[in-house]
Symmetry: C2
Subunit: 317 residues, 2 copies
């Protein structure tokens, strides 16, 4: 069993590659839920949905989020009722949020809700929220403390990030199924998602780090920073204002105490020695994922790299 830790679009692409490269049922994806929020009384889980739609093969290929070919008639009608539209929700997407909200209100945990939705879409992998407890990412900016989606979508990531907090995380528990999956994993792959607001909450959920320390296989991260830039989203600017080096080496420093290997892009090959001096072994390859074939190609390389690290581990014992 391979476990992936994932946020939204980048994590979903990596997960799709892994799903394609592995036998059915061979992948468990543990997904950030600290971005979850309520809109129009519905519970929205952006990262879970992006991973779910992508693994179901119905994600919008251009945006990376939402359902391919979705319409926006419900949202337009909400606008007719003089409501603010600041977060795009397609009509098919509404179905997900309506059912999730109904089932959560009926007392079903988020993990069971997600399992039911994903099963109906025929997804062969397990998609697990990092926790069934609510955690909310808050972003400190010069404009004050913002809720994550206000920062991310509402204000288009235009504010400097001076700090990040995960409200409620101290009372959250890592999903037991996620802990079990990690503890039994052949390898854990940290997807090229935002290390601060996507992978960060997963790692900080009580119980998750201990499971990662106990995992028998190697832990391999794929750098979301390529040539000093983020593949997507505000990771680069966020890392910079939080005092991290915006580079593959900076990523290695962030994850150094956790990972056995780091996958970096060919453009960053001159950092290999410096990264390996910190501890992790390095795989240099093309990390920018295009279509499905490309995702599968990268996933296969990452899995081979993890296999080699596992053999090295075994040999070292």
């Amino acid at each position: 069993m391979i476990v992936a830790l994932a946020g939204g679009v980048g994590g979903a692409k990596m997960a799709q590659g892994l799903q394609a490269a592995l036998p059915p049922g061979g992948l468990t994806v543990i997904v950030n839920t600290a971005d979850d929020f309520d809109l129009y009384g519905l519970r929205i889980s952006p990262d879970l949905d992006t991973v779910m739609y992508t693994l179901a093969g119905i994600a919008d290929p251009v945006n990376g989020w939402g359902v391919a070919g979705d319409t926006r008639n419900t949202l337009d009608a909400i606008a007719r009722y003089e409501q603010d539209l600041w977060f795009l929700l397609g009509d098919q997407d509404f179905a997900t949020h309506v059912l999730r909200t109904e089932w959560l209100r009926a007392g079903k945990p988020l993990s069971a809700v997600t399992e039911q939705l994903a099963a109906a879409l025929g997804i062969p992998s397990a998609i697990l929220p990092m926790s069934d407890d609510r955690v909310a990412t808050l972003v400190d900016t010069p404009a004050g403390r913002l809720e994550f989606q206000d920062y991310f979508v509402g204000r288009r990531q235009s504010d400097d990030v001076l700090g990040v907090a995960f409200a409620g995380i101290e009372h959250a528990t890592a999903l037991p199924a996620a802990v079990s999956a990690i503890e039994g994993a052949e390898a854990v792959i940290i997807a090229p998602s935002n290390p601060i607001v996507s992978i960060g909450p997963i790692l900080e959920t009580p119980g998750m780090r201990a499971a990662l320390v106990a995992t028998p296989g190697p832990i391999v991260a794929v750098s979301p920073i390529v040539g000093g830039r983020a593949l997507k989203g505000p990771a680069a600017q966020m890392l910079a204002t939080l005092g991290h080096e915006v580079s593959a080496l900076g990523m290695a420093r962030l994850y150094a105490d956790l990972i056995d290997g780091l996958v970096i892009d060919a453009i960053d090959r001159d950092m290999q020695a410096a990264i390996e001096a910190l501890g992790p072994r390095v795989l240099v390859t093309q990390t920018v994922m295009g279509g499905e074939d490309d995702r599968r190609r990268l996933a296969s390389e990452v899995l081979d790299f993890a296999g080699a690290l596992a053999a090295r581990r075994t040999a070292a014992r």
Copy 2:
């Protein structure tokens, strides 16, 4: 101020005619809410919505309910999640249910929710739920007691109706704004809606009948039975199995203690004398409403009839 009591499609057509015939703000529609139910965790108020969409000019002209030109992408996506689809909800319609549910959960009463939705649609009339309290129509059939929408939509009105109950009505209170409107009305028009399950709950809501007894103007009903058949829906079969005569005369008997006038169709003109022998005066006209012009024409005739009855009342004092 004219007050109309209305259920769904027939009531909405009558209300639209009245709205067109009256100066802006001259109409208050009191709407049955005993058909309201929850679906996918959302509160659906079918009659309120049908009246609202119709008065906003956006109702589907063929069905009479739902929004004209609406799509069904959310519902199709709900089906993809292996949920039963037995009640049709369009994408624009979902916007209404999502916002209503959100606002009700936030503690807003249904009347305030309805007012806000209707105001956003630019409706010049007041649309009032009969009560802010929940009442649920239950239908006794040979197959047992059914929830109303299960009987009405789910089983397509195929069961004989042996009895009807309005659960919770004894604890409900007529909406104060509805009581005030009736008590100050120049005339109250009972729309050609189902007398048992649409007008019935309105009349039985505690406080409503007393207001109707106290209303200064005439009360005029428009018969929903034309030539021994219901204009729409299961009213005829329901009246029959409940032991009522399925005719304009049967309607007169049902409403005799309440109304000053009954509007019947030309096809039923031979019942005029028998009806007037019961008390109510009769207006014979074309009661089957086609398009908007026809609704306005009927509404004008009904208003003129009510005006004549009011003059007669005044003269009798």
